[in-house]
């Protein structure tokens, strides 16, 4: 036991933080599942479990772009949207081919991630040449374009396969797909996906969170991750030591997009009706708020911020009409407080004291 403790003590600090993150998420999952099975959780809270998982993955993946790569993206919901609708189409058309729901869900999430990753590549290749606020605008524009394109999309499935139509004139309906008898409508233009069989589960959400943590934490702690962070800290210096800017930027951006796509697929399969307008600019902003409040580049911070802030408006329900107003005020006050030099200094001193105390303890324990 003592030997083990010693080995643990010798681990790098980042490794310890990573393990603590995995452990914390697992523990939270077990506790929440138990609470749910005991019937302690309210109905509305139980219904929020899968969306919370999705938003945690969204926040963690956006943190890779904003916190670790250092590029502001305002269109993350666009990738979620791509993943959600491709995921729904996949799951609905494979209903008879793969009757076992968890496998179908997994396939849908993989397809969603693939398509979102391709979208990330299409956006990323030209856009990552731009810098700063321009990138923010283009990602914002991308999110809006995706939303409108899906609003025009008609997709149905019958024995012959997928039928896809693009409703540019606005006059087509789902009947114009000429589906055979027994065909199902999957996406109905502005109404979005209707009649989806909901196969998402909290367990799948947990697995997705763990997977994205493994992917992102391993990426960040690898050679590539260090290159990505070097780009963030000083692009010119990084370029001058031979780091391939485009390659590493794309690597981070596409990973982030693909994870958002997987989260979107899970989200889409959690609701029987889902319109593309759900994934608008406000959703992107919501996720960005989670990332910034959780701390840029801080993965476990994103997880906690996403979970807490998703529940917060619900918890503020007693304020009824005032809750979003209270939410806005809380948001502003938190930003003002965390950036206040006096409070910042206080925290820094506190942290210094704590680490010094712990170091002294460690020395004492070692002897």
């Amino acid at each position: 036991m003592k030997k083990n403790m010693g080995r643990l003590g010798r681990l790098k600090k980042t490794t310890k933080v990573d393990f603590a993150t995995y452990l914390g998420v697992t523990a939270a999952f077990i506790v929440v599942s138990m609470l749910r099975d005991q019937g302690v959780l309210t109905r509305s809270l139980t219904g929020m479990l899968v969306p919370i998982c999705c938003y945690i993955v969204m926040a963690v993946s956006l943190n890779l772009t904003v916190g670790i790569l250092g590029e502001l993206s305002l269109g993350h919901a666009g990738f979620m949207s791509v993943g959600a609708f491709t995921g729904v189409i996949t799951a609905m058309s494979l209903q008879s081919a793969i009757p076992f729901a968890p496998v179908r869900l997994a396939v849908a999430m993989i397809v969603g991630a693939l398509f979102a990753g391709v979208a990330g590549l299409i956006v990323g290749v030209p856009v990552l040449r731009l810098r700063g606020d321009y990138l923010a605008i283009v990602t914002l524009a991308f999110g809006e374009i995706i939303k409108e394109l899906i609003n025009c999309l008609l997709v149905g499935y019958d024995a012959k396969g997928l039928h896809i139509a693009f409703n540019i004139s606005g006059s087509l309906t789902i009947d114009d797909l000429n589906m055979a008898e027994g065909g199902i409508a999957i996406i109905k233009g502005a109404q979005g996906a209707t009649g989806t069989t909901t196969i998402a589960s909290f367990g799948a959400g947990f697995v997705l969170i763990m997977l994205s943590l493994v992917i992102i934490l391993n990426l960040v702690r690898s050679r590539s991750g260090r290159a990505i962070m070097a780009l963030r800290d000083n692009r010119i210096a990084a370029e001058s030591v031979g780091i391939n800017i485009t390659k590493y930027k794309l690597m981070a951006f596409i990973t982030s997009a693909a994870l958002a796509g997987a989260a979107g697929a899970l989200y889409g399969l959690n609701y029987s009706n889902l319109a593309a307008s759900k994934f608008d600019f406000n959703t992107s902003i919501l996720v960005l708020v989670y990332v910034v409040l959780g701390g840029l580049g801080n993965i476990w911070g994103s997880i906690i911020a996403a979970a807490v802030l998703y529940i917060l408006p619900e918890a503020l329900r007693e304020f009824s009409d005032y809750r979003m107003l209270v939410y806005a005020i809380v948001l502003i006050l938190v930003m003002l407080a965390t950036n206040n030099p006096t409070i910042k200094g206080l925290f820094a001193r506190l942290r210094e004291k704590l680490t010094r105390g712990r170091k002294a303890e460690a020395k004492g324990g070692g002897r």
Partner: protein, 292 residues
């Protein structure tokens, strides 16, 4: 003739975007922040004018002045309470605060005026028939285009010729150096917010005169579009914001008329992306070479 009428409606819509974009671009040029609450100041301006006309019975032109006064105060208060303490903070922190302010304004409006759309009576009514009535231009359109041109010229003169304008340009180039030269940076930024918010109030009144309805979320989409207009024309540049706004309005109007109503915004944003890829600093933006 049909094309001409679409073009005219595009220009008038674009003039509204241009007025909003002028406010955006000035604030961005000096405070270097994306003020996402700008769109909601537009909405507040619209509501103030609406209340002045329908509850107090004031004439239209007076309601515009009242809206401008209220929005100016609002802009300065927002800047002083929410943005000034974050002058040294990262740009993302300021961005999130601006989003918080935007949520705050939207939800405050929701509580005060309710979610249902209010019918807005245009400040001026009537139409001007041209070519023997084959083409009509509403007076609102003429007013909008006129206001936009006047505002752009006034702003160009103000930033170019006056002492305060010079201080603004100095602050936008280098705040520390400006302060060393005896410029009161905080006051200059406040003034910028005041001007930007007053413009937002004008834009709000004009926007509501076009759409004749008013909701707490009225300002957000035009706000985003005006922001893209500012980037399109080269952010920080006054003629750029004007040009970007007008072009965006024309593209939107023509896309709606000839391609697809549903995809109009998608086309608009696609054009924006293409322009930024070809000319990353926007149409009239200055190219700033990188120093190593």
């Amino acid at each position: 003739m049909e094309f001409l009428s679409y073009l005219i409606s595009g220009i008038s819509l674009g003039s509204v975007y241009a007025i909003i974009a002028l406010g955006y671009t000035m604030v961005y040029g000096i405070a270097k922040m994306l003020n996402f609450a700008h769109g909601d100041v537009i909405m507040v301006g619209g509501y103030i004018s609406f209340c002045a006309v329908s509850y107090l019975g004031l004439p239209g032109w007076l309601s515009v002045l009242l809206a401008m006064a209220v929005c100016t105060v609002l802009g300065v208060v927002i800047e002083g309470l929410a943005y000034r303490p974050l002058r040294q903070a990262t740009s993302l922190a300021v961005l999130i605060t601006a989003i918080g302010v935007s949520y705050f304004l939207q939800n405050a409006a929701l509580l005060i005026w309710g979610a249902s759309p209010k019918g807005y009576t245009p400040v001026v009514s009537g139409q001007l028939p041209l070519f023997g009535g084959r083409l009509t231009i509403s007076y609102v359109t003429l007013l909008t285009v006129g206001a936009c041109i006047v505002i752009m010229i006034a702003l160009t003169l103000f930033t170019g010729k006056t002492k305060m304008g010079k201080a603004m340009r100095a602050c936008s180039e280098n705040k520390a150096a400006a302060q060393l030269m005896g410029i009161n940076v905080n006051r200059t930024i406040s003034l910028t917010f005041a001007i930007g918010s007053a413009l937002a109030a004008v834009a709000g009144v004009l926007l509501c005169s076009f759409s004749t309805s008013l909701m707490p979320t009225t300002g957000s989409m035009p706000g985003i579009k005006a922001f893209t207009a500012a980037v399109f024309g080269g952010i920080g540049s006054i003629p750029g914001a004007f040009l970007g706004g007008i072009l965006l309005g024309i593209i939107e109007s023509l896309a709606k008329a000839y391609i697809s109503t549903q995809l109009a915004n998608a086309i608009l944003f696609a054009v924006l992306i293409v322009v930024l890829l070809v000319k990353p600093s926007g149409l009239l933006g200055k190219y700033v070479p990188e120093k190593v």
